[in-house]
């Protein structure tokens, strides 16, 4: 009875998983080697590339294991975990969202903080508007998009604004950082405040401009990860955390532009 319910919920979680071809890899040939297990990881959208890149390595090291991801905004993921969505690991993009899950008693033990990210101004290649810092974004000559203040990247942007003593006049306050980035890659805004890793992920479609307030108090982003309480795959979840904080994880994170913690 319980396992049937769990099966349905797991299937639902899989349906929620965005654009990940996790289903394809659960081939029959793996099932003979070891009992088939599925590790479900809810991870912040900014981790999409790194986690997808590390998935085959982890699966190879743990025969019979299929990793699948539920990528989304950290707030949404934390809410889902609080509401009891069956997932084994929660990896958010801010301590605050992790605390939401912790306070609800949904995280086993202490989460590990393993990576950090900082803000950058994304502009068109060649920086046609000559944007040098936050101040140069103010005014009608330059249009910019930033994150909504309720999401982590929006809070970081606000902290940077406070540190610089400027108030930006964005044309859009978007619900997630990738939407901000898309507005820059499609050239509908002159600039967007995103993370270093987002700029790197575009492979040169946008250029990043560093600014001093990116290292201000509250402007940085740290990435905690923890095993969800009551997970049937807590051991596998711990192994994923060791893997992501180990040499292979470090290499992938560094390559994507994350700073290691």
């Amino acid at each position: 009875m319980i396992s049937a319910r769990r099966l349905v919920l797991t299937a639902l979680a899989a349906a929620v998983t965005l654009g990940v071809a996790a289903c394809g890899s659960s081939g029959g040939e793996q099932q003979q080697a070891a009992p088939a297990r599925t590790l479900t990881i809810s991870a912040a959208a900014s981790l999409t590339d790194v986690y997808n890149q590390l998935k085959p390595q982890f699966e190879q090291a743990h025969p019979g294991t299929t990793v699948r991801f539920n990528f989304g905004g950290s707030d949404t993921l934390a809410q889902q975990v609080v509401q009891g969505v069956p997932t084994d690991v929660l990896a958010t993009a801010s301590p605050k969202t992790m605390q939401t899950a912790q306070q609800a008693g949904r995280i086993e033990g202490q989460p590990v903080t393993y990576a950090a990210n900082s803000l950058q101004i994304a502009v068109a290649p060649g920086n046609p508007k000559q944007i040098a810092n936050l101040q140069s974004l103010v005014g009608p000559q330059v249009t910019e998009a930033i994150c909504q203040p309720t999401v982590p990247c929006g809070q970081a942007t606000q902290a940077a604004e406070r540190a610089a003593g400027v108030t930006l006049d964005p044309v859009s306050q978007d619900p997630d950082v990738r939407t901000v980035l898309q507005r820059v890659t499609t050239r509908n805004v002159d600039a967007g405040i995103v993370y270093v890793t987002d700029v790197k992920a575009t492979n040169g479609q946008v250029q990043g401009v560093d600014f001093p307030q990116a290292s201000a108090q509250g402007a940085g982003q740290t990435y905690p990860i923890g095993v969800v309480a009551g997970s049937q795959n807590a051991d596998l979840g711990q192994q994923w955390i060791q893997f992501i904080t180990g040499p292979q994880g470090d290499a992938a994170l560094t390559q994507a532009g994350f700073q290691l913690k």
Binding site: T76, Q79, T143, T150, P170, R187
Partner: protein, 277 residues
Amino acid sequence: MTRAVTRTGRGSRGSTVSLALPWPVWVPAVVAFGLIAVPVAGLIVRTDWPNFAALVTTDAALDALWLSLKTGLTSTALCLVLGGPLALVLARSNIPGLPFLRSVVLLPLVLPPVVGGLTLLFLLGRTGPLGQLLNAWFGITVPFSTEAVVIAQTFVAMPFLVVSLEGALRTAGERYEVVAATLGASPLTALRRVTIPVVLPGLISGSVLAFARALGEFGATIAFAGNLQGTTQTLPLLIYIQSQNDLDGAVAMSLVLVVVAVLVIVATRTRDVSGVR
């Protein structure tokens, strides 16, 4: 349980015909109604009533409600002014390729709204072909403006009006217009005095559907118009953003959206029944 309609038959014996609904209709009908009504009822249960007034009267909420009403009504008017004639062409003209045109008109129903918004962005964005012209000639930038919200809403709502109206036009047929023409009415007079009054119920229900769709529009708006309080942040956008960190506020504002929609539907329903025929 069953509804029996009795009327005098046309048969020579004057027998009565019972038009009861066959029993297999009822179970799925109840399930269908429940599927819609139960989650919405859950919304009412989940609402934080003691703080309801405070939650729905924040600056952001009032701005969003006002913007939603304003843009929703404007989009509906545009759907009427542009979609009405389109429905006439689809129903009454015999230009070649009508089935193809009709399927194109239905596309916004099939496309995920976000994709609809992106296609608008590709066309009207700063680097889009039309967007570049508008910018060069008139200095107009469409994305991130209230006009962009209206365009996105009109895009997604248009098929609802066109399909309803085209159906009404086809059901009504052309016989009254033929009579009007034989009595000397010009095509324009026939349209104004005969066609429009005849299809008025269809026009009203189509407008209500279009308004409801425009009111709930989210994906195309956020992709094409962005999200800025007072300018492009409609109620569904605010609800989405609130739902990420303040569920109570999101639920309360959703309820406001439901109430607005129900009010509009009820108001037009009663007019529909008592006013026309």
